[in-house]
Symmetry: C2
Subunit: 419 residues, 2 copies
């Protein structure tokens, strides 16, 4: 039976500043070495591993509009995307993704669906476990199946799920919200597992939950009404109320790489990019997405990372406190992966910006215009077509290196694209 | 009597990478707070302080061609510059500067001249001491007068001068080259002082030394022959051989800010530029010449500095070992102060560079052309004139914001200037 997997892709990216920003959440940072020596992101790694475990797996991504381009850029055009028009927490997102699977992708009501976040750091055994969870849901032994991660420490960052017995699969006795340290220790003493947000169910089950809690007819209708929905988590709306629910233990590698401290633990080498590490560095990781070199000398237990957003230098232990500082830093997006290529701000002055756009071969930017900005295009390499004022009377020309600088007046700014 | 001061300005700038480069030596880095809140460099501070002590002081800079633009930019057009056509160590440099003072600036043979490096960190009392040294030379009590700095520790980095007696002014018993630690301790026990490279003499004295050791007629002739001169230090050629020589003790503030460790000690605040310093930083200094922000969290005894050349993160103690690493880093000049304004490389690709030039009001670039490069100019703000192919048949036009992008073919590349 084919695997239907919905990867939930969210996140604001403040904690991994400056390599993440409002568009690039942590799951899109390329820090994992592929067998061929290039780098891939968490979402690319997960997508690749799932398909290696099951080449027929149907993988869909539930995400917001702002991530669609980077997802296509990193995963290609074939991946299914359930676009949330806005953020409404996990229950509306899972309901929408389920309707998308059924109405758009043709998934049958009896078919199992696995929902999981796309940003834990896992190894291959995890994907085999997802498959077993899917099979458990398909078997009908429970309406809802949840994966319980065997805790490695009494974390206060996760919810807990308390199994009724200690088998590999058991009924759920209770769900617990993120506890304090003492409660976490008590839960673990009672055999509780981390609730990793990994669920499986039959498609029809979730459609029924969606219809009973939200008023809509089909996927299109739910999509149209999405902004009017109330924010509510899947745990609260469904999991905590469901009686017929099973938990499957998983005691393999499963880590949340939410801070620089944890993220760097997953790096296979100490540096990425143009970096010189001096002789007396210990436990130092450096990721440099700029072209200018970074030289690090005599540091211990530190992370250095640089992108067009800025430069971070932090003690690793201290790195979990980053959010309060980043909130006060200008959050203008300085780099992004677009469906057509990449976008990078290379210079900012008081009344101008210089942006380096790289178009993928054959790709084109969308037609667009600006109200209060003059745009000058200079082709640095390659050839392409520029179209002004699309429609009847459009002018277009072929542009190549050094040939098409053109000032466009701010009033009549034409819709311009290169394709 | 007016003070004639020659400031020796040299240095390669590897030790203060990335804020220094082949063009900007440490004396040009703007890290000292002016009374008005803006920043000035060492050479600006020294120039300003000398003129505050003696408004009539005639200050000349002995330097290489590559520093002329930054000196004019930082000190204005009035400063006298004795340009060394190439580096030939301190004796030829002082000989050339002396001939420049006499032949070009009209300094008389009986007038005293003070020669000193432009890059120690000093306080106002130092300039009063320079004046006293000048007066000592003018008095004729000795042919050569040298300033001896009262040592604060047994340094291995400086030469020593051993006074014959312990008065404020005494005859010199001996000069000692840079010693090892043990010898330094012994010298200091014998009352030796640091030889800071600060000398005073009457102009005619040095002219005579120059003529006796080098074959030339006048300043122009010496300038023309400069490349053929042998490298030789002033200490070796003159000071160590002179019998009639006095040393004047100076026990005020005098520091060589040659490493990041010492340079940051002289900063009046912990950060310069767009920097966020977290709560748990101790003895951390950050200088950011980029526009993107730097966030530093939980570091101790560290320096962080960033410029278009690159980014340095170093333990302060470790920072003195920087040279061996920087020697392996690409040393293309990424920023420079020019006589007409500033130059900054903002983006480097495999076959193109983007450069941000800022022209000072009224200034113009020199006419120039390129053999194998296409240059596209885009005016971001302001207005100016562009002249192509100067001479008969020149074309020129007025350029303003967004109005003058122009591709220039690499063959017929015109001489282009904005003025």
């Amino acid at each position: 039976m084919a695997l239907n997997i919905v990867l939930l892709s969210g996140g604001s990216g403040k904690r991994l500043w400056p390599l993440s920003n409002d568009i690039r959440s942590k799951q899109f940072i390329k820090i994992f070495r592929r067998p061929d020596g290039s780098y891939e992101s968490m979402v690319q790694q997960m997508y690749r591993e799932i398909r290696e475990v099951d080449p027929d797996a149907r993988v869909s991504i539930a995400t917001s509009k702002s991530q669609v381009s980077v997802i296509h850029n990193q995963l290609g055009q074939d991946v299914g995307i359930s676009v949330e028009p806005c953020r409404r927490d996990t229950f509306p997102a899972i309901a929408l993704a389920t309707m998308y699977l059924h109405d758009v992708q043709g998934v049958g009501e009896d078919e199992p669906v696995v929902v999981c976040p796309c940003d834990p750091y896992v190894e291959r055994e995890y994907f085999a476990a997802l498959r077993r969870l899917s099979e458990l849901a398909a078997s009908g032994r429970a309406s809802l199946c949840v994966m319980g991660i065997v805790p490695t420490y009494p974390s206060e960052k996760y919810g807990y799920v308390v199994p009724a017995s200690d088998g590999r699969i058991s009924r759920v006795a209770a769900f617990k919200e993120k506890p304090d340290l003492e409660s976490a220790k008590q839960y673990i003493a009672r055999g509780a597992l981390w609730n990793a947000g990994v669920f499986a169910f039959r498609c029809g089950y979730m459609m029924q939950k969606a219809h009973s809690l939200l008023e809509f007819t089909d996927y299109q209708d739910l999509f149209a009404k999405y902004e009017m929905l109330t924010r509510i988590s899947f745990d609260y709306a469904v999991a905590e109320k469901e009686q017929d629910i099973a938990v499957m233990r998983f005691d393999g590698q499963w880590k949340d790489l939410g801070t620089w401290n944890t993220l760097t633990e997953a790096m296979s080498e100490n540096t990425i990019g143009n970096v010189v590490l001096g002789d007396h560095c210990e436990n130092v990781h450096v990721i440099n997405e700029l072209t200018a070199p970074i030289l690090v000398m005599g540091l211990r237990n530190a992370v250095v990372s640089a992108s067009p957003q800025g430069i971070l230098v932090s003690d690793k232990g201290e790195s979990s406190y980053i959010k309060k500082y980043v909130e006060h830093i200008d959050d203008r997006v300085m780099f992004a992966e677009k469906s057509w290529g990449t976008y990078r701000v290379v210079n900012v002055e008081s009344d101008s910006v210089m942006i380096m756009n790289t178009l993928n071969p054959g790709a084109h930017m969308s037609y667009h215009s600006h109200e209060s900005r003059t745009e000058i295009l200079t082709v640095i390499s390659g050839t392409g077509r520029i179209v002004m004022d699309p429609g009847p009377g459009a002018s277009s020309w072929t542009a190549s290196r050094g040939m098409c600088p053109r000032a466009m007046s701010s009033r009549s700014v034409p819709a311009a694209g290169i394709r």
